[in-house]
Amino acid sequence: MNRRKFLTLMGSAGMVSALGTAKVAKAGVHTFPYYPDSYGVLHDATRCIGCRRCEEACNAVNKLPKPEKPFTDTSVTGTKRRTTAYAWTVVNKYKVNGKDVFRKLQCFHCNDPACASACFAKCFQKQPDGSVTYDGTQCVGCRYCMVACPFYVPGFQYDEAFDPLVQKCTFCEPRLKEGKLPGCVEACPMDALTFGRRSDLLNLARARIAENPGKYANYIYGEHDAGGTAWMVLAPSAAAGKQDQDAKDAKEEKPVVKNHEDEFKQLGLDRHLGTQPMGELTYGALGAVPMIVAFWPVLFGGAYAISKRREARFKAEKEAHVEATKNDLAAAVDAAVRKIEETQGPGAADTARRAMAEALKSREMTSAAEHGEDK
């Protein structure tokens, strides 16, 4: 195989692989299968009163360390708390058009979890029951999952000197297996958390929106956000708080905000995540990695080998040429000396041989100095 053939072959192979990965990215193949019978929880923010019973129950059933402030202190909901390795769920207070609305935060258990797509140790798994579980035995502590999570949920055991782990809501998977409800769902005194099959919850959420016109924002957060999540949120309608104001200046009637972005923004839920699973944004690029791993060594190794071989051949040719010239010169010198010997005797021949050898040597020296040593 010559160089041209090799390069043509490698080039076309590279093109095919590039096209192949592009196709993968476009088709949006899920690396995690969608489980139609998976469970979920619907959080109705209009019902939540911010009592923190869910936090208390979560702490108890998961045997987490006691927090500094007791769970009876509801004032902590005023600060925007985040989930940590030791508080897997938190309830925060938001102002939606001037009215207090509480929202619970925990792992949303995405249908196609970003944490799992980011983890190269395969610690995260989407289970058929809907939960996203974490197995820390292979965790290297890179915390890529924490970077990847669009909801900032996983927490890291920063205080652990040896083998710190990532911790987050488990959907009470051990309890689900025992046929029990998740701790928080069971503890909620307002049924602001409804457990059920995700598909049933969607119907139920729609029914609630339809039966109470004006109460809810006409949007189920998590139905499609970030590719769909097992835990979903219903928000109060932004208009619900505005009623009194509306009555006063009825003239300034505005068309309803499209897609209810306003309500969810005020409730601290981003609508900018889009409907695509986070992982899908990277599958295309990451799908190309095996191609690169497979082809680049061959491509560049081949190119290197070719140039090396070419160099070696060139050098050998050059050496042979130099040798031939040398031999030619020696033969010419010999012939000249033999002629001198015949005509002028051996003494003159010796002098001529020496002079010629010296002249050749000095010339070689100068040419070597001019061109440098060629290795």
Partner: protein, 323 residues
Amino acid sequence: MRNGTVLLLLAALALAGVVCLSAPGTAAAKAATLASTDSGAPSAIVMFPVSAKPNPKGTAMTPTVFNHLNHEKAVAKCETCHHTGDPVACSTCHTIEGKAEGNFVTMERAMHATHIHKRGNGTTPTSCVSCHEDVTRKRQECAGCHNIVVPRHDAAWCASCHNVTTSITPEQLQQGIDGTLSLEQRESLAADTVHTPKPTRMLTPMDGPYKVRIDALAEKYLPNNFTHRRHVSSLMEKIRGDKLARAFHNQPETLCSTCHHRSPLSATPPKCGSCHTKDIDHRYPDRPNLKAAYHLQCMGCHKAMNVGRPKNTDCTTCHKARQ
């Protein structure tokens, strides 16, 4: 004769009493006429199911008698109902089948639609039902109940508006649908309906228990002694004499049916625990468990009526902590 003055006084008193007692009677005798409106529109209107193709048998939905006078007083401007700005009859554009002039919005929709999209141009049309729902959800004295329940849409609910007097003849109905019924006949039908007495005697707070001990769930907290009578009388006091409430709370137990919802109206309704189980019933995932059912009803009503206390998270105000 000193007793004579007393007798005279007594006689005068008796006379005054007779006059007072007979006064409502005289008003009833003049039933045929109604108080006139400021706008000049008839005080009460019979709304017939106007159709391009009247049913030859003369059967149709019972017409509604719309009390224009009462509604005129209740809304700020005519455009609330006459949304085009032109005070014509609704049936000009909204007929049973719908017409191009009315954007093919049928009469049924024009009167009953609830999820009306807000228009950008400032005037969003309202239907009877949507406006009534809106008012009852906003008025503080109504908001408590009307924010947590939606009235059951049964025959009694329909009949509270579709209430034209039973003395209407099939011929009159057919003529009304055609638009050929004479003005006098229409007015007399409307007046007859308005003056038909509604003999509903609402249940009183005294018909219910004084206090209800709620102890089915008492575990962490002591049982709650719910002041049933106080709650009912407070609600009734707030809507006493309210025309809207009187027109639509037309069953003796209507007011009971907010808390005692979903079961048939009764003076002795079933307990909450009959349907709401302690643990959620997996067959009915949206039916709140008993604890949540109590909390949602109590807090839902208190929140809607702006009852400041107790705070939602102040558990021991309603049920004392167990020592």
